[in-house]
């Protein structure tokens, strides 16, 4: 059979050099990024090509093709997920023995597996934030008609988002894209997530990585409750008296607060005309990050964007430009505030955190410094102090692929293929 590399031309070139005629498990180390990895039911390895890290997963062709298509679809739908790069099929060993296909995905920069986050003891608030991020991701997927089928912390990557987290889907193998999901599908998906997360938390507890204040079962119940609250806010009907029409605007504001834009509202008035019923029809996540991108060209997570936009508002007030055109003020904020901070970060520290996260931390730091000093400390001074006393001591998070360097079989949940049944 012919070797077929389905990928964009640029990446195809780079991919050509890899030893596709060898089972992934036997690839020599010099092809691989020597970072720990979780045990998956499939063989998974990481490699670096042209300065980027790629994940390779060996799997039967129909599964590789299917997951590739799904990830591409999710990408088109703007879902936070790993990007599929290509599928290598028609592989053959030198002796003619056929080899399974390989799905290639691009590693998400600055993303953290949950095990890495838990490697340092995790506090209750951090757990809450992880769960919130995951719940927002599930609700986004469900709005689009995506049934995940195996939602868990292990199948998710997290990126820092102004002290909170943004969640990314990593594994779409069990997923399915539908026109719309039935209540049963959503309920089942959440039930799977709940059981997986409880298991992962109990495992962390058994390993001594979980603070005593965190109760795995309470956390998994929280997934269930938060999801339903969010889903109701996103899709539920709300009825009120015709004189309380301001509540329509309030609903939209609440959704904006949650980071969703409302593109369409369905409004029905009763026959008597006394009661109004409202339901959001189309909601798009990324309200703040879209606005920040439009104004400044800065690509940030939702909470980071909210934080930066607040700073932009404060800047407009301080410099007395509130009446000015928004775009113009945003432009001078980038020149006066954002860029000077970024330029003050030494190059060797730039792999530690993403730019918007650094800016967020500088703003936090400024608040602490000002409180200590009893007066407002300037941005320049804060940045210098932040670099010397905070950022310098942080780990590099550009490409963390696993939790610890220990044997993954001892640290990660792992999966058993059916063929070992016996």
């Amino acid at each position: 059979m012919e070797l077929r590399i389905l990928a964009s031309p640029r990446e195809q070139q780079a991919l050509l050099d890899l030893p596709w005629d060898m089972p992934l498990e036997e690839w020599p180390e010099w092809y691989l990024v020597a970072l720990p990895r979780g045990i998956s039911r499939h063989v998974v390895r990481f490699t670096r090509l042209g300065g980027r890290v790629y994940a390779l997963k060996e799997v039967v062709q129909s599964f590789a093709d299917r997951e590739y298509r799904l990830l591409r679809d999710l990408d088109r739908l703007d879902v936070p997920a790993v990007k599929a790069v290509g599928v290598i099929s028609g592989r053959e060993a030198p002796d003619g023995e056929p080899l399974d296909s390989i799905l290639v995905t691009r590693h998400l920069q600055f993303s953290l597996p949950y095990r890495a986050l838990f490697a340092r003891m995790m506090r209750r608030e951090t757990v809450d934030r992880l769960i919130d991020a995951l719940v927002v991701l599930i609700a986004r997927l469900h709005l689009l008609g995506f049934y995940w089928g195996d939602c868990s912390l292990s199948n998710t990557l997290f990126r820092r988002d102004a002290g909170a987290f943004a969640a990314y889907l990593v594994d779409a193998e069990t997923g399915d894209l539908h026109e719309a999901l039935s209540t049963g599908q959503r309920e089942h998906d959440i039930e799977i997530a709940r059981v997986n997360i409880a298991g992962e938390m109990m495992d962390l507890a058994a390993a001594g990585y979980l603070d005593d204040t965190v109760d795995p079962i309470a956390v998994s119940d929280q997934v269930f409750e938060r999801y339903h609250t969010l889903w109701d806010e996103l899709t539920g009907w709300e009825a009120f008296d015709v004189n309380d029409r301001w509540r329509i605007a309030r609903r939209v504001e609440r959704l904006n607060e949650l980071g969703f834009d409302v593109a369409e509202l369905d409004i029905i008035t009763d026959i008597g005309g006394r009661t109004v019923r409202v339901q959001p029809k189309v909601v798009d996540p990324g309200h703040h990050s879209r606005r920040l991108l439009r104004l400044t060209g800065i690509d940030a997570q939702e909470n980071q964007a909210r934080r930066l936009l607040n700073d932009l508002d404060a800047y407009a007030a301080e410099t007395d430009q509130q009446g000015e055109d928004e775009e113009i003020v945003a432009n001078s904020w980038v020149l006066d505030c954002f860029e000077p901070v970024m330029r003050a970060i030494p190059r060797e520290f730039r792999g530690k955190l993403e730019a918007p996260e650094i800016y967020h931390e500088v703003l936090e730091h400024r608040w602490y410094l000002s409180e200590q000093a009893g007066h407002d400390v300037g941005l320049k001074e804060t940045t210098q102090d932040y670099v010397d006393n905070v950022l310098r001591h942080k780990p590099d998070e550009l490409a963390i692929l696993g939790g610890t360097s220990e044997d993954p079989e001892q640290t990660q949940p792992f999966r058993i293929p059916w063929d070992e049944l016996g």
Partner: protein, 373 residues
């Protein structure tokens, strides 16, 4: 444990006119292993998901035992979707790995212990309950994973193409293992596959679906021996049944040079529906080389010989001046016959076959339904 009943259950996807599952009537016995099989788009997965509560039921009802579950949320139905793979947690003992999901649902501790112990006995895992998964062999780990589903003590297990990500070789060994485990557990199981061989080897009964409509449900052997219509006849069996539309003349079925005997009851059934053609099917092993004194037969030129040692198959095409006319009446271009191994005719040879007595299958050309005789 319980029976499962589909009572004229239908599912119509929004925006579609044709139901994905059309008035499915199916009774699954307590403890039975039932396989839903059919080509893609036949409604098999939708049927399973309706039972799981993942698809709405637009008409009709579904019952588990006496309970009507038609509109019940999935988690209240007392079913377990068995995954292709379960996570095992390395820091937790085998017992904790098997029982933790019960803890989430608030099952009392003593009850969890009892269920884990029962499952461990069934799965030969009792002496490993205090160990960590790392200390187990691959097979034992897989049984722990199965234990996660078993401790829930569901009324019904549901499996949706669980072997589809394995290569052909592994599928064969694994399907027997799943089937034998199910028999030990005795839990009613509904299993979906597109692979008719998987269906035939695993199911107590097999339910064949096409275009959302149940075609036939029966034991594997009965499906093979008495397919209810042309679709089932062609779908079940590997290599496939030879099927072609013949003309009726002088009390025999003729196509090109081929000429086979038709029982009188079949002839009268065809004439009753005002037709003069008949769809005839015969399995590769029902063909035997005919001797000179036999009347009629099916002349075939051998194209390929497949000698497997224990079996031999020949793949050929009809022979004779009217061969071209014959091929467009056939479901497939080739005629397949099983012949005596080590005595197979050579490529290019011409052989006249006849169908063993009573092994012809007749179907109405009009409706595709089987005509019994």
């Amino acid at each position: 444990m319980a029976t499962v009943t589909y009572d004229k259950a239908s599912r119509v996807y929004p925006g579609q006119e044709k139901p994905a599952v059309d008035s499915l009537d199916l009774q699954i016995e307590d403890g039975e292993f039932l396989v839903l099989v059919g080509p893609s788009g036949c409604g098999k997965s939708t049927s399973l998901r309706m039972l799981a509560g993942l698809e709405e039921v637009d008409a009709g009802a579904i019952r588990i035992g006496d309970r009507d579950v038609t509109h019940m949320p999935p988690k209240d139905r007392d079913i377990a979707m068995v995954f292709q793979n379960y996570a095992l947690y390395p820091h937790m003992t085998v017992a904790a790995n098997m029982g933790f999901a019960l803890k989430i649902s608030g099952t009392p501790k003593a009850e969890i212990q009892r269920r884990v112990m029962d499952a461990a006995k069934l799965l030969d895992l009792v002496e490993y309950l205090d160990r960590k998964p790392k200390a187990l062999s691959g097979g034992q780990r897989q049984r722990v994973a199965m234990g996660r589903a078993i401790v829930r003590e569901p009324q019904v297990f549901l499996m949706d193409e669980p072997l589809s990500n394995l290569d052909a070789k592994l599928r064969v060994s694994t399907r027997t293992q799943i089937a034998s485990l199910q028999r030990r557990l005795g839990i009613t199981t509904v299993y979906v596959t597109h692979d008719q061989i998987e269906a035939m080897t695993m199911g107590d009964r097999v339910c064949v679906l096409k275009d959302g409509i149940l075609q036939q449900v029966d034991t594997p052997l009965n499906l093979y021996d008495t397919p209810a219509n042309v679709f089932v006849a062609g779908f079940i069996g590997s290599p496939a049944m030879n099927i072609a539309t013949f003309d009726l003349a002088d009390g025999r079925a003729k196509l090109g040079e081929a000429n086979v005997e038709v029982p009188t009851s079949v002839l009268s059934a065809v004439s009753n529906e005002g037709s003069n053609t008949l769809t005839v099917g015969f399995r590769p092993e029902s063909l035997i080389p005919s001797s000179a004194e036999d009347e009629g037969g099916i002349p075939v030129t051998v194209d390929v010989v497949e000698e497997l040692g224990s079996d031999a198959f020949i793949y050929g095409h009809p022979t004779g001046p009217k061969a071209a006319e014959a091929t467009d009446r056939m479901r497939s271009d080739t005629i397949i016959a099983r012949v005596e191994p080590r005595m197979a005719p050579a490529k290019g040879e011409k052989v006249v076959f006849k169908v063993k007595g009573g092994e012809s299958h007749f179907f109405s050309t009009k409706t595709g339904e089987r005509i019994s005789y």
